[in-house]
C-alpha cells in the first residue's frame, strides 16, 4: 500500500519537466526555512511576554493552553479576524504595500544563512553583501507606512526611523568590513569555517569592539528598546503603525520579530562561529558536545534573542539626540579605529587570520 503510494508520488514527480522540478525543489526548501521561522517568530513573542513577566515578578500569559503555550496562536487568530481599517485620507496602495515591504527583506535574507555545514538555500559568494543590502531595504516599509498613513504621529515616527537607521547602518557596515577582513571572504559558510578550532578561534575575540557595535546597531536597526523611539508608546502612541489594525499591523509585528531572529542568527554566524561547537579542540567530534551541529547555531542565536528581550526589560529609552550621538560619534569612530588596528594586525600577521 505504502509502496504503491510512493511509486505514485514518484511518477507524479517525474511527470514534471526538469526545470519545474528544480523550481519546486527550491520552493520546498523555502517553505522548509520559512515555516519553522514563522513558528519561532510566534514563540519569541510568547517568550518575550513570559521573560519580561518573570523579570518584573509577574507570571505573564498563562490562560490559553498549558501555561499559556497557545497564547501566540490565539493572538494570531484574533489579529486575522480583525478588520483592516484604511484611513480615508491615506495613500491606499502605499498603505497596504508598506507592511509587505517591511517583512520581505527580513525573510529574503534567510536565503544565504547557513544552518549547518552545507545546509543553506543558496551558497552565494557575496552572501554578506546580500544580507547587508537586504537589511538596508527594510527601512522603506516603515518610512512608507508613516507617510501613507497621513497622520502626524506616524510621519514623526518615520522621520525618526529614517535618520536612526541610516546612522546605525554605517556602523553596521563597517563592523561587517571587519569580519570580511578577518575571513577574507564574503561567503557566509566560508566565514563560519574560518572560525573553526573551538572557542578561542571565534572572531568575537579579535573583533570584540566590532562585535559590540554590530549587535547594538542591530538592536537599533530593529527599533527595539532602548532604541525604540520609532514606536515610543509614551510619546507618539505606536509611531509608524498607529493607523494599522488587524493583519496589516500583524505583518509589521512579524517583521520586527523576524528581524530580531535574523540579527541574532547573523551575530552568531559572524562572530560566534555559527554551527561550530565551542569545545571543538578539546572534546573531539565523537563527543556530542564537541560535534558541530545545528544545535549550536540555534543555541547561540537564542542567547542573542534573549539579550534583545533582556534589554527591553532593563533599559529606559534613549533620548533622540543621545541615539544620534551614540551612532555617529561613538560607534562609527570605534569601528574605523578598529579597522586600522585590524589592518595592522593583518599585515603583522598577529591574530587568527593567515592571509
Amino acid at each position: 500500500m505504502i509502496d504503491n503510494l510512493l511509486i505514485f508520488a514518484l511518477d507524479i514527480w517525474n511527470w514534471f519537466p526538469s526545470g519545474w522540478q528544480t523550481f519546486l525543489l527550491i520552493l520546498g526548501k523555502i517553505v522548509l526555512i520559512l515555516a519553522p521561522l514563522m513558528l519561532c517568530v510566534a514563540y519569541i513573542t510568547y517568550a518575550e511576554r513570559k521573560i519580561i513577566g518573570y523579570m518584573q515578578i509577574r507570571i505573564g500569559p498563562n490562560r490559553v493552553g498549558f501555561r499559556g503555550w497557545l497564547q501566540p496562536i490565539a493572538d494570531a487568530m484574533k489579529l486575522m479576524f480583525k478588520e483592516v481599517i484604511i484611513p480615508a485620507k491615506s495613500d491606499k496602495y502605499l498603505f497596504l504595500i508598506a507592511p509587505v515591504l517591511s517583512i520581505m527583506p527580513a525573510l529574503a535574507a534567510w536565503a544565504v544563512i547557513p544552518f549547518d555545514r552545507g545546509v543553506v538555500l543558496t551558497d552565494v559568494n557575496a552572501g554578506l553583501l546580500y544580507v547587508l543590502a537586504l537589511t538596508s531595504v527594510g527601512v522603506y516599509g516603515v518610512i512608507i507606512a508613516g507617510w501613507a498613513s497621513n497622520s502626524k504621529y506616524a510621519i514623526l515616527s518615520s522621520l525618526r526611523v529614517g535618520a536612526q537607521i541610516i546612522a546605525y547602518e554605517i556602523a553596521m557596515g563597517f563592523a561587517l568590513v571587519g569580519v570580511l577582513m578577518a575571513s577574507g571572504s564574503l561567503n557566509m559558510s566560508d566565514i563560519v569555517e574560518g572560525q573553526a578550532g573551538g572557542l578561542a578561534h571565534w572572531y568575537i575575540w579579535p573583533l570584540l569592539p566590532m562585535f559590540v557595535v554590530y549587535f547594538l546597531s542591530g538592536v537599533a536597526e530593529t527599533n527595539r528598546a532602548p532604541f525604540d523611539v520609532a514606536e515610543g508608546e509614551s510619546e507618539i502612541v505606536a509611531g509608524f503603525h498607529v493607523e494599522y489594525s488587524g493583519m496589516a499591523f500583524a505583518v509589521f509585528f512579524l517583521a520586527e520579530y523576524a528581524n530580531i531572529i535574523l540579527i541574532s542568527a547573523l551575530t552568531a554566524l559572524l562572530f560566534l562561529g555559527g554551527w561550530l561547537s565551542p569545545f571543538e579542540g578539546w572534546l573531539g567530534a565523537e563527543h556530542w558536545l564537541g560535534a558541530s551541529s545545528f544545535f549550536w547555531f540555534f543555541a547561540k542565536a537564542c542567547i542573542f534573542a534573549f539579550l534583545f528581550l533582556w534589554f527591553r526589560a532593563t533599559f529606559p529609552r534613549y533620548r533622540y539626540d543621545q541615539i544620534m550621538r551614540l551612532g555617529w560619534k561613538v560607534f562609527i569612530p570605534v569601528t574605523i579605529v578598529w579597522l586600522f588596528v585590524e589592518a595592522v594586525m593583518v599585515v603583522a600577521e598577529i591574530g587568527p587570520w593567515a592571509v
Partner: protein, 204 residues
C-alpha cells in the same frame, strides 16, 4: 525562451515601466518610489550579468541610503502638485531630445559599430563565467592595482565633498540647550545635594 530570457525581459519591462512612472506620476513621493523600483530591477539585471558586486552595492548605496534621504526630503516638502504639472508640455521637447541622444549613445556603445542594434551574436559570444567566479574579487584586484591612483583620487574628492557639505551646513546655535553626556556621568552627589542641619524641632 529560457528562464534567463524570461527573467531578463521581466526585469527589463519592470525597469522601463518604473522609469516611465518616475516621470509620469503626479505625486513626487510616488516618483521617488518608482525610482527605487527602477534601481532595484536594474540591480536584478546586473545580477544576471554576473556583476553581483555592482548589483548589491547599487541596492545598498542607492536604494538603502541615497533614496531614503531623497524620500525624506520629498516627504517633508509642501509641494503644490497643480503647479508642478504646468510645465510638462513645454519641457517635453527638451526631454525627448535628451532621451533620443542617450538612446543613440547606448545603441552606439552596445551595438558595436552601431548598425546591428540587437547584436545577439555578440551576446552569445560573451564569456560565461564558472560558478565560483567572484565578481567582487575581480573588481577588488583591478581597483587596487591598475586603477589605484584614480581610485584614491576619487576617494579624496569625496572626502573633500563631505567636509565641504558639513562645514556649509554647520551652524552653532547659541540659544539651544543641550546636555553633555560626559558631564552628566561625571556628576557626584556633592554637586547636586547639600545636607543642612535644621533647627526645626517639629520634625523630630
Amino acid at each position: 525562451m529560457t528562464i534567463t530570457d524570461f527573467l531578463f525581459f521581466a526585469f527589463a519591462s519592470v525597469t522601463i515601466a518604473a522609469a516611465l512612472g518616475v516621470v509620469a506620476s503626479k505625486n513626487p513621493v510616488h516618483s521617488a518610489l518608482f525610482l527605487v523600483l527602477t534601481f532595484f530591477s536594474t540591480a536584478a539585471i546586473w545580477l544576471m550579468l554576473e556583476a553581483e558586486f555592482l548589483a548589491l552595492v547599487l541596492v545598498l548605496v542607492y536604494v538603502g541610503a541615497v533614496m531614503v534621504l531623497f524620500l525624506f526630503v520629498v516627504m517633508m516638502l509642501d509641494i503644490n502638485i497643480a503647479k508642478m504639472r504646468e510645465g510638462f508640455v513645454s519641457y517635453l521637447p527638451a526631454g525627448i531630445l535628451f532621451a533620443v541622444l542617450f538612446l543613440a549613445v547606448m545603441v552606439y556603445v552596445v551595438g558595436g559599430v552601431g548598425t546591428d542594434v540587437m547584436n545577439t551574436a555578440a551576446l552569445d559570444n560573451a564569456i560565461k563565467r564558472a560558478a565560483d567566479y567572484s565578481n567582487t574579487e575581480a573588481i577588488g584586484e583591478i581597483l587596487y592595482t591598475d586603477y589605484v591612483l584614480a581610485f584614491e583620487v576619487a576617494a579624496f574628492i569625496l572626502l573633500v565633498a563631505i567636509i565641504a557639505a558639513i562645514s556649509l551646513t554647520l551652524r552653532r546655535r547659541t540659544k539651544t540647550k543641550y546636555q553633555t553626556p560626559a558631564n552628566q556621568i561625571k556628576v557626584q552627589r556633592d554637586d547636586r545635594l547639600k545636607i543642612i542641619k535644621s533647627d526645626d524641632e517639629v520634625l523630630k
